[in-house]
């Protein structure tokens, strides 16, 4: 991010070069710089979480516990979950790409509350420091789900510190969501009607609604857990007549919608990529846009499907199962519409498009296996097994991380002003796709065979599948490290990016420089066209 004399930028006012010095970054209110701050923070956290995953996978090469003692292993998978969920997946696309793009896509100079945006990042950093401290003093072994009464009375780890980190992190998420909602409502440029919004904005808007309405429930729930743990008395304590299942209801009332925080933005990215690399208006704009809102809405009504075997009433299970199938419908609609968009398009398989197509495939796998776990009878068998682990990694990693990588490559010219090296990028994409499938497909088999999750040791007959999975994980790890190098490399040596290298539609490509100036546009644009107006031609410079 430093400056280089040989850059020959005619315009020194672009957001990367308009101010210098560490203060101009740490106290910036520019949404683009804050996006970069988030990019750096979550990349760090991604590799921290990845390191835990590596240790987990290495331990599972053999059935016995040899690399890690079970006590350590339990901390590893817990920290992997906590770091990846709250410190990578939830902020990933919204806080990095959303922060960078939403103001530009709606035609605004910044988010509605730039200082609150900066506060979000500071809160995120504070919570990140907290979680790193928690790791260094010994970590936490409750699982990322903090189930009571284990987390409140039985765990001998730093559950309160971890809960506090997540509590603070929650404020960061809420404030980001609030900023997005207000921005989309009040900051749209003249002519930018709701139905002209890019689908990336729609999906992030839906995400923001979930962030604002679900996260506070997590906050109060973790507060209750903290109180119970510190004061040794609380409302989930069975000794007082308290109900540990109530904790699960409250936890999943947040955490199931949170799953949609972790996938909706990815769907938004893929809608942008598929249209840009087919040079075609998306098939069924309204259906894709409203599907996002439907997912956000129904997402609040399905939390009980995490409790099918918990002792929840059978009839409650019935309702939650039915609603879970309802929420699958809009996801299916999206997959069909993306596929149909390719029809008679002008398809270019550049790296972002490879990621987009991989997303559709992997998300389809994750979504279809969701039908298995939503089926009450099947869930009784696969609940809490590796089948579930594989299912949600297909959504979270195969879906969200893939979309994030695709989006990062697609908008990299806009963010950095430089092109990434296409050849290396394709190699990395290939490694990630292959490594991912080799890691997680065997886990479906393991799950149906009955291997429970969170097991440090396992019966020997499961070993072959575990070895395959670990082999895949090592390839996947390489696949994720490679982009780190070439993206850094490209910031200095990459080809200088034109304003609209992909000939894509959208205000960020057609109206803003690469990289954009501090206030995004010379003057606020007036919008006269629909989104994805490829047939009417796009502005190149």
């Amino acid at each position: 991010m430093s400056t280089h004399p040989h850059l020959h930028r005619d315009d020194p006012k672009d957001y990367l070069h308009c101010e210098y010095g560490i203060r101009s970054w740490l106290f910036t209110t520019d949404h683009k710089r804050i996006a970069i701050l988030y990019l750096v923070s979550i990349t760090l956290m991604f590799f921290v979480g990845g390191a835990f995953a590596t240790l987990v996978r290495l331990e599972l090469i053999t059935p016995q516990s040899d690399l890690l003692q079970p006590e350590t292993y339990n901390r590893m998978f817990t920290m992997h979950g906590i770091v990846m969920v709250w410190f990578f997946l939830i902020p990933s696309i919204p806080a990095v790409l959303g922060n960078f793009l939403i103001p530009m896509m709606v035609g605004a100079r910044d988010l509605a509350f730039p200082r609150i945006n900066l506060l979000s990042w500071w809160l995120f950093t504070a919570s990140g420091v907290f979680v790193l401290i928690t790791i260094f003093i010994g970590g936490v072994d409750t699982g990322w789900t903090f189930y009571t009464p284990f987390s409140t009375f039985y765990s001998n780890s730093y559950a309160v510190a971890a809960a506090l980190a997540i509590f603070i992190n929650g404020f960061s998420t809420i404030l980001t969501g609030l900023n997005f909602i207000v921005t989309v409502h009040t900051m749209r440029a003249p002519g930018m009607t709701w139905l002209r919004l890019p689908l990336f904005v729609w999906s992030n808007y839906a995400t923001a609604v979930i962030m604002v309405l679900a996260t506070p429930v997590l906050a109060i729930t973790l507060l209750l857990v903290g109180i119970e743990r510190v004061f040794r008395v609380g409302i989930f304590d069975p000794a007082l007549g308290g109900d540990p299942i109530l904790f699960q209801h409250l936890f999943w009332f947040y955490s199931h919608p949170a799953v949609y925080i972790m996938i909706l933005p990815g769907m938004g990215v893929v809608s942008e990529l598929v249209t840009a690399f087919s040079r075609k208006r998306i098939f069924g704009y309204h259906f894709v846009a409203f599907a996002s809102m439907a997912i956000a809405l129904f997402g609040f009504l399905v939390w009980g499907h995490h409790l099918f075997v918990s002792g929840q009433s059978l009839y409650a299970g019935l309702v939650f199962s039915l609603l879970s199938y309802l929420v699958a419908v809009p996801s299916a609609i999206k997959v069909f519409n993306w596929t149909a968009t390719l029809y008679k398009g002008s398809v270019l398989l550049a790296t972002p498009m490879l990621y987009a197509l991989a997303f559709i495939g992997l998300f389809t796998m994750g979504g279809l296996t969701g039908l298995f776990v939503a089926a009450l009878g099947v869930d009784v068998h696969v609940h809490d097994t590796y089948f579930v682990v594989a299912h949600f990694h297909y959504i979270m990693v195969g879906g969200m991380v893939t979309a994030y990588m695709g989006g990062l490559h697609f908008w990299w010219p806009k963010i950095s002003g430089r092109m990434y090296p296409e050849g290396w990028a394709k190699i990395a994409a290939g490694l990630i796709f292959f490594g991912f499938n080799l890691t997680f497909f065997p886990q479906f088999v393991l799950g149906y065979l009955g291997m429970p999750r969170r097991y440090a040791t396992y019966p020997p007959e499961f070993q072959v599948w575990n070895v395959l999975s670990t082999a895949g994980a090592s390839i996947l790890a390489v696949g994720y490290v490679v982009p780190l190098f070439y993206l850094f490399w490209s910031m200095r040596y990459g080809k200088i990016a034109p304003r609209n290298p992909w000939r894509a539609s959208g205000l960020e490509w057609e109206e803003a420089d690469s990289p954009p100036i501090k206030h995004n546009f010379e003057e606020v644009p007036t919008v006269t066209k629909e989104a994805y107006h490829y047939h009417e031609g796009v502005r190149l410079g």
Partner: protein, 327 residues
């Protein structure tokens, strides 16, 4: 591997009626989802190749997105989903709905072992011996954190929750030894909270019953505890008599009528003031911290042995703990 082929398991052995039921649904799902996934993958690959960009400035052709197309691919998946939902629900109810005449076995999970009590007095740790072709009902609870009783070969699991009784049913169909896992993360030794379920032919099972050193029958233990804790001193004179109490409708002091199921009996031992029987004073001390979960189950088994309503236990799930209120 010279010669000796490494046994790579693909499918868990089906050893109960529930296993067959789950397998059938699973195979149906594999077939339908596999078809859909293959269809989408092939379409994507075909479109990507067929409509690949041939010139740098080529533009995709504007296609309308007709409403009927959208509605079609909304309605068809929705219909299929409903079908899967119905099937899944059927299997679920067949696994969790209690059935009359099942062999009742009590299981307590604790960090980190499974403690099993048979009605005839056999006690096992991390072992469960069952006869083949007999409906079995487990009554589960936990002494500390949440555990989950999971037998992959039966395709069933059920959480064991502290402060609550949960049940699970199965009908083993094939003799053999099968894995027993704890599926709900419960702390350090979670992955070692495992055991074996041994399903035996009736004759072997009889031999096992006879050959296993057993204490007294569970109900007898309960009776002994009933005397030891002095219950016998009051019940029958200044406290309600307990003959045939199990599954009886109990009129409470506040006018409600509750069914004396396992959960009610448990609560009345641990927290006697919670639901007081009409016409009796609230004088019973709490036995919380005095009797443990294993003893509780023995006491309840004893109360059941005092004669139960003829219909037997065919109630619904024991949750919610709020008793059924009749006007």
């Amino acid at each position: 591997m010279a010669g000796a082929a490494l046994a790579v398991p693909f499918w868990p052995p089906p050893a109960a009626q529930s296993a067959t039921a789950v397998d059938h649904l699973f195979i149906f799902l594999l077939a339908i989802c596999g078809t859909v996934a293959a269809g989408i993958f092939i379409t994507i690959l075909y479109f990507a190749a067929r409509y690949r960009r041939r010139a740098d400035d080529e533009i995709g052709s504007l296609r309308p997105s007709p409403l009927w197309v959208e509605l079609t691919w909304t309605a068809i998946p929705a219909a299929i989903f409903l079908f899967i939902f119905g099937w899944g629900a059927r299997v679920y109810f067949s696994i969790y709905s209690p059935q009359v005449g099942a062999l009742q076995i009590y299981v307590v999970g604790k960090q980190w072992m499974w403690e099993v009590q048979h009605p005839n007095g056999q006690r096992e740790i991390n072992q469960l011996h069952l006869p083949v072709n007999r409906q079995v009902q487990l009554v589960l609870t936990s002494q500390d954190v949440i555990h989950s009783f999971f037998v992959p070969a039966f395709r069933v699991k059920r959480d064991a929750v502290p402060g609550m009784y949960t049940t699970v049913q199965f009908h083993p169909t094939k003799a053999g030894e099968y894995h027993l896992f704890c599926a709900e993360y419960c702390g350090t030794e979670h992955s070692r909270m495992i055991g074996t379920v041994t399903v035996m032919e009736p004759r072997d099972y009889e031999r096992w019953l006879a050959g296993t050193p057993r204490g007294e029958p569970l109900a007898a233990t309960g009776e002994r505890l009933f005397t030891k804790y002095g219950c016998v001193n009051c019940h029958g004179n200044i406290a309600p008599a307990l003959d045939g109490v199990y599954m009886k409708g109990i009129g409470l002091a506040d006018g409600r009528v509750v069914t004396a199921d396992d959960q009610y009996l448990r609560e009345s031992i641990l927290d006697p003031g919670a639901k007081i029987v009409g016409g009796f004073p609230n004088i019973m001390p709490s036995f919380r911290g005095v009797v443990n979960e294993v003893e509780l189950q023995a006491l309840i088994e004893y109360l059941k042995s005092l004669g139960a309503p003829a219909a037997g236990y065919a109630g619904e799930e024991r949750r919610p703990r709020r008793p059924v209120t009749r006007p």
